[in-house]
Amino acid sequence: MRTLRRFFSRFWNLTMLRHDDERLHEEIAGHIALQTEENLRAGLQPAEARRQALLKFGGVESVKESYRAARSLPGIEALFEDLRFAVRMLRKAPGFTAVAVLTLALGIGANTAIFSIVDAVLVRPFSYPHANQLVLLFDAPLKQPEALTAFSYRDFKALREQNHAFSEIAGNAFHDLTLSGAGEASVVNTADVTPGIFSMLGVKPLEGRTLVSEDGKRGAAPVAVVSESLWRSRFGANPNLVGKSITLDMRSFRIVGILPASFRYPDGAAHQDVWIPIAQDPLFGPLLSRPGVPVMGVIGRLKSDVSLAQARTEVRTLSARFAKEFPAQDKGLTIRLLPYHQFVVGNLKPALLILLGAVGLVLLIACANVSNLLLSRAISRGREIALRRALGASHGRIVRQLLTESALLGLLGGSAGVLLAVWGVWSLQSLLPADLTRIGAIHVGAPVLVFALVLSLSASLTFGLAPALLATASNLQANIQEDGPHAGRRRGQLMRSFLTVAEISLAVVLLIGGGLLLRSFAVVTSVNPGFDPRNLIRAEVSLPQFQYSKPQQWVSFANELLARLHAQPGLQDSALGAPLPMDRQGEASFPFTIAGNPPLPPGKTHAADYATVSPEYFHVMRIPLLRGRFFTQEDLSSNPNVAIISETLAERYFPNQDPLGRQMRFGFPPNGNVLREIVGIVGDVRDTALSQKPGPIMYVPFAQAPLYGAEVVVRSSLSASSVAAGIRQAVQSIDKNLPVTDIERFPDALDASISRQRLWTSLLDAFSAIALILAGVGIFGVVSYAASQRTREIGIRMALGAQPRDVLRLILTQGAKLALLGLGFGIVAALALTRLMTSMLYGVSSADPVTFASVAILLVAVAMLAGYIPARRTMGIDPMIALRYE
């Protein structure tokens, strides 16, 4: 209690220093005056009386000192003194301060910016309660466990009823439905779900209720839950919306609840407007009764006492049971579990960790640079430090003083870095792929700020400790005299060379990483997608299922639409296709068999991508015909079924054979087992992403395999907006209730497919550029310091007849040695480290010799330049002046 009270009093005193000094001063004066008076009374002369009084009192300064020590907290007071002194020192050397703070700001800023992404994506928890219990379930062939597919409704139901590991299992699918009535018809993102998903994800409705299990039964009255954003945008936040009906695909649904705008499933998905029971979906509802037709994604919540491994064991048993029970569909299949977290951020995690590692290296380089700067400063401050030690400052006291200066630098750099990070994150927003920002809002929040603070302080210790220890360890007397053997200097020079080599090696690692990404990005962007995306515009039209329920209606709508498009000037080059390149993700998964080939062993299937296209499609897309023929207007449903295959399909499944004239059996469920004759072979198309190798594709004529909607592709020299207007006009002249959505320029769609690569590449390249600059500055610093230290030696050499060129070589060699040493270490480290980023590379090996060689050349060039500038200065040295130097 007493100690506590004293502490607070002292703490208070910290702020009252001046006031207290005066008080003590007055008290001492009073004390001495009283003593003097008493001495006077005792009969001494005035002068002697005062002298005796002073004598008796003793050392005034030492009283003041111990008074101060008792008055406040000496540690903190010393800290303030050190800080004040540090501020003075930094202000006295504005150039040094600016360079150091800027360097640190770059390092800390880059780290803070990347950490804010990591924080949003990997650290911050998901919006659902106990998200770590959430697990996604997939079907997968036993032989190909990576080819994950959706569940059939029968398997879903069987799993839901028979498992013991999950507290709830729910299914979901997505479908765009047309919302009509109450204003212009529009397409709404609809989530088809089994009702259990809401309670499993712990979402509470804003109004009304979510779906209950009765709603999910077949034959129940159709109900829907709408999102808060749809409620506001479409229904003007009508407070009485619950209970009203809306029309989806020409069918009436009663609204039972409104969900908060923040809710979506899964994280990173596009926004959802409407949730309906999957049984009520016009497309998926009828498919639920078909066994073996995959219709939905499945998510489960593990019981709190069940581990993932236990759940895996159980579903393995269950899938074996299903395979026995339903051999026709489930033989050779197994159920796989994937933690929800891994599903959402799984493929982002390695890239983000690599980036975090890369910015860590940038910060280390920055630290090495500042450390170098501090070293040369500490050496030039050797005299000051030696004097302070001679005056009685302890070794520890001086180290503390120097470290305070470092910490101040670190904090200044950190603050500037945070500003830099805020700016960086702000300007990154447009570069960030949409699926990344949807996982979590990326901003510099409290955890990020704490990270920046910790980083600044630990960086200060990293770059400050070695120079501080070295500065105080040097010979006292030699430093006061400022000549004689410079033991400390030599050790400093060694340390500086070491730091420079270290930062060059780190920079080499970063440059090689950045170079590899840049190379693979160049490969990806220069890759031929297999079609010509220039001047190509796409738009989507989908037909409401209840109004357009018969395939014949779809065909006639498509024909009508194409006829009207072709009639418009500038839109002659238009076609229909579904899906278009870049619409799909993942592996080709549409099964087919080849007529005439022996039957495949169970569990093994041929799979390719499938697209239904109008006859003009290949011409509009500029996909070349290799053999055979394109589709024609004669390929109608009344005529023999035909197909066109891609080059890869031909090579993979018809090796050394002529596919033309052969027959394949495939198709969508209504007419799935249809034999189609191969009439043509076309060029490969990259249909999932630019960075994905083209897969096998089979095309069928739209007239023979119609869909309830299609994507329009138009090649036109008109502007995107007039093309869009043209398409809209053509569609709505047929049916004014049909919306046209997802209008996009094809080059943009291609860009979007590589947005992640672009982000990683631009970030890592920015970091390696910073690293290169910092390493250059480091070499510059070391060489110019060494040159200035050797002025006298150079003078002697020149007086003895050395040519300026010899001197230049002498100094340059020194820088070159460091650069080559750093390059060597860096290449070895890079060989080991770049293997970690194989998954981010495309078309380039992680040990790509071209990248390694270019980085080596670039680094040597920068090193020579950085060394040449200071070395040149030595050429102009006048031997007479140089000899008198020091």
Partner: protein, 119 residues
């Protein structure tokens, strides 16, 4: 004014605080100089109060709340800081005096110790 004799010793560490408290308790508010002089007088000038310890100690006691201080005028109208015992200081004095007496008694017993006492 006392001459500095070889017999004169500095106040033992830790006891000056108790002396200050007792002096203020008996004599009422006093300034620093007064406290020092009284302690020296009471000890019959055997003790010398080190000013370098006195003032920091006064400050410490004040921080602990044992004494309070204010500016006042000395006997001959000189501005001086007067220290006064607080109620907390009073309690502190009592408990410290008790401790001291106890220590004294223990030390005394030890000093009287003869070897036969332990047989």
């Amino acid at each position: 004014m006392a001459e500095r004799g070889s017999h004169k010793q500095d106040v033992q560490q830790g006891t000056l605080g108790l002396m200050i408290l007792k002096t203020l308790d008996v004599l009422g508010p006093l300034h620093g100089y007064g406290i020092a002089r009284r302690i020296e007088q009471i000890s019959h000038d055997v003790l010398a109060v080190n000013q370098g310890t006195l003032y920091p100690l006064l400050l410490k006691l004040e921080q602990e709340g044992a004494i309070s201080s204010e500016w006042g005028a000395s006997e001959n109208n000189r501005r001086a800081r007067f220290y006064r015992l607080t109620r907390r200081g009073h309690r502190m004095l009592e408990s410290e005096a008790r401790d001291w007496k106890q220590t004294e008694a223990i030390i005394a017993r030890f000093l009287q110790l003869k070897s036969e006492d332990l047989r």
